[in-house]
């Protein structure tokens, strides 16, 4: 179970932004060429030179996928507690406060009701900048309620994953969120509405081993890291170096774990076609 610390190395990208005169420039994580923030923003953070997909914020994803960029937010009031009074040198509450400031979000997942090309959906998106998107009680509760409301309202579910796994600071309770969310998903199956899972970079540990790969359709972004054990854990356990591309999107597709690798430019249209085939039902 890899619980990433609350710093987000992601793809070594946001760390390298620097101001040069009038514009902000970023170095591409793929080819190393220098791109302006405006140019990146225009291409949904995909490098026009090499096609490298830089991470996007949940706000960017809303704008990319949801009609009018609009999300009717559910359960924002469900807020974290500190059940273990966890302190590792810095208190859990302090870490939570910092994560809130850093991410501008109340917890590591946002959920709600939205429309995708006219299809009403129950939508969720993990917030990687909030403690590595780790799943504690709040994430578990919000995702569980997402599936429960989708069951009651007979809505398709579209859930975007980006997480280092379970949240260590909530101990066993975070492990139990895997059971809770998957049990809610299993009930949702009965209404015969599609569950489309999208795995972003990275999706590992307890989140990978709960809802992430159980979609009726599993989609992934290019070059996302997806797996149960983190690469560092495997390397240190087996005392070996891992092959190039190990646990990346292409590897998952080759091993039969995901349906499609979808570039950002085609994500909304892909979701739209899937929703229309699987009975999303227009509003």
């Amino acid at each position: 179970m890899s619980s990433l610390p609350d710093k987000t190395p992601a793809q070594g990208f946001s760390n390298e932004k620097r101001s040069l005169g009038k514009g902000v420039f970023k170095k591409c994580g793929g080819c190393g060429s220098v791109l302006t923030a405006e140019a990146l923003s225009d291409t949904w953070h995909v490098c026009s030179g090499c096609g490298y997909h830089h991470p996007m914020t949940p706000a960017d994803w809303r704008r990319l996928l949801l009609d009018g960029g609009a999300l009717e937010r559910w359960d924002d009031h469900v807020a974290p507690a500190d059940p273990l009074r966890f302190d590792d040198g810095k208190g859990y509450r302090e870490r939570l406060e910092r994560a809130k400031k850093q991410s501008g979000q109340t917890e590591a997942v946002e959920v709600g009701r939205a429309h995708i090309a006219g299809h009403p959906v129950a939508y969720g998106c993990y917030v990687f900048s909030f403690m590595g998107g780790s799943m504690g009680s709040v994430v578990g509760e919000r995702v569980t309620r997402l599936f429960e409301r989708a069951t009651t309202d007979r809505l398709p579910v579209v859930l975007l994953h980006a997480s280092g796994g379970a949240r260590m600071q909530e101990g066993i309770l975070s492990l139990m969120q895997m059971a809770k969310t998957v049990a809610a998903l299993s009930r949702f199956r009965a209404v015969r509405k599609p569950y489309i899972s999208l795995c972003l970079h990275p999706t590992t540990g307890g989140v990978a081993a709960s809802t992430a790969l159980l979609g009726d359709v599993n989609l992934v972004e290019p070059n996302a890291l997806i797996g149960f054990a983190g690469p560092r854990v495997i390397e240190s356990t087996l005392r070996t170096t891992l092959p190039e591309g190990f646990q990346r999107s292409e590897f998952l597709q080759n091993h039969g774990m995901v349906d499609r690798i979808v570039p950002r430019s085609e994500m909304k249209s892909t979701l739209t076609v899937l929703l229309s085939h699987l009975g999303g039902g227009r509003a």
Binding site: A166, A179, L214
Partner: protein, 316 residues
């Protein structure tokens, strides 16, 4: 091959003296009252000594090389055990055993992680760390139980799912998630017992019970104390501190609502007396199983849903 941890030495000596007297009393009935007196005194003393154990010491007991494993319990609790194997897809995984058995008068599906007692055995059992095939065998058995309306008795004892290259190639994450989903949805009674190590998602794939029991000196955790210490403090030797902070001992888990009952172990721990450990587990297991009598398949699934639905701590 008695293996003794430093902190358990006094208790082991005490239990050893009781065992000697028991053998003498076997030949000489006059020693019976003396034996009974010493047994009671030793039990009380052992309990006192072990009541002050640090969380990490309990973790060490849960990993004790002489601790009874899943098949040791199967042999003592069940009749007519017939092992079923294979995932019908890729391979047989011996780190997870299962099959059909008779428990008292009932046919049941039994399943559990299996560690090896020697290096050679552990080559086969992979130290109780399943690959995806193990979890896919579990899925098969859960579905078999559902179709034939047989209760499932699951035994958890794993450091975790195996973190290997091939495990990832064959979909470790999906296998665990799928096992959790199927275990959550079957319409039969499910009782899980953590008999040793409850290591993370690899344990949870056998953990979706209507009732979840735990042996006194077992642990159940989202991450190993060593792994937690390595991430938080970049120092695996601080595992005892992590074990304490993570709240992974049986009483902690009961308080957090993650287990429903603690099963007492024999004086000095389950490894001191496998038969006695099995008798104690039998009482708790049977009680848990019959408590689910009379529930319909839908009610059993709903009961399991509600049990896990309420777990978590948040402000709303």
């Amino acid at each position: 091959m008695a293996h003794v941890l430093a902190f358990e030495k006094p208790v082991v000596e005490l239990v050893g003296r009781v065992r000697e007297l028991r053998e003498l009393a076997h030949a000489d009935a006059r020693l019976a009252p003396e034996l009974k007196r010493l047994e009671e005194k030793a039990a009380k003393l052992a309990r006192e000594m072990f009541s002050k154990l640090e969380p990490m010491q309990k973790v060490q007991l849960s990993r004790h090389p002489n601790r009874p494993y899943t098949l040791d319990y199967f042999a003592r609790l069940f009749d007519d055990f017939i092992e079923l194997s294979g995932d019908r897809c890729f391979a047989e995984d011996a780190s997870l055993v299962g099959g059909l058995a008779r428990y008292h008068d009932r046919s049941v599906v039994v399943i559990g992680h299996q560690k090896g007692r020697s290096t050679k055995e552990n080559m086969v059992r992979n130290f109780g760390m399943p690959n995806p095939e193990g979890y896919r065998k579990a899925i098969r058995l859960y579905e078999l139980a559902d179709r034939f309306r047989l209760p499932v008795l699951a035994f958890v004892d794993t450091p975790g799912a195996f973190p290997g290259i091939e495990a990832e190639e064959r979909g470790q994450a999906e296998a665990i998630a799928h096992a959790i989903e199927v275990m959550a949805s079957i319409g039969v009674p499910v009782v899980t017992t953590v008999i040793g190590e409850g290591g993370s998602g690899g344990a949870l794939a056998l953990g979706i019970g209507n009732r979840v029991l735990i042996l006194e000196f077992s642990y159940y955790s989202v991450i190993s104390p060593e792994g937690c210490a390595a991430i938080l403090w970049k120092d695996g030797s601080l595992a005892p501190r992590a074990a304490e902070r993570l709240k992974i001992t049986a009483p902690d888990l009961l308080e957090l609502g993650c287990v429903d009952a603690i099963v007492d172990e024999p004086p000095g721990g389950a490894h001191q007396d496998h038969d006695d450990a099995a008798r104690r587990l039998d009482r708790a297991l049977w009680e848990a199983l019959v408590s689910l009598d009379g529930l319909s398949p839908d009610e059993l699934t709903a009961d399991r849903y509600q049990r896990f639905r309420r777990l978590g701590s948040f402000v709303a």
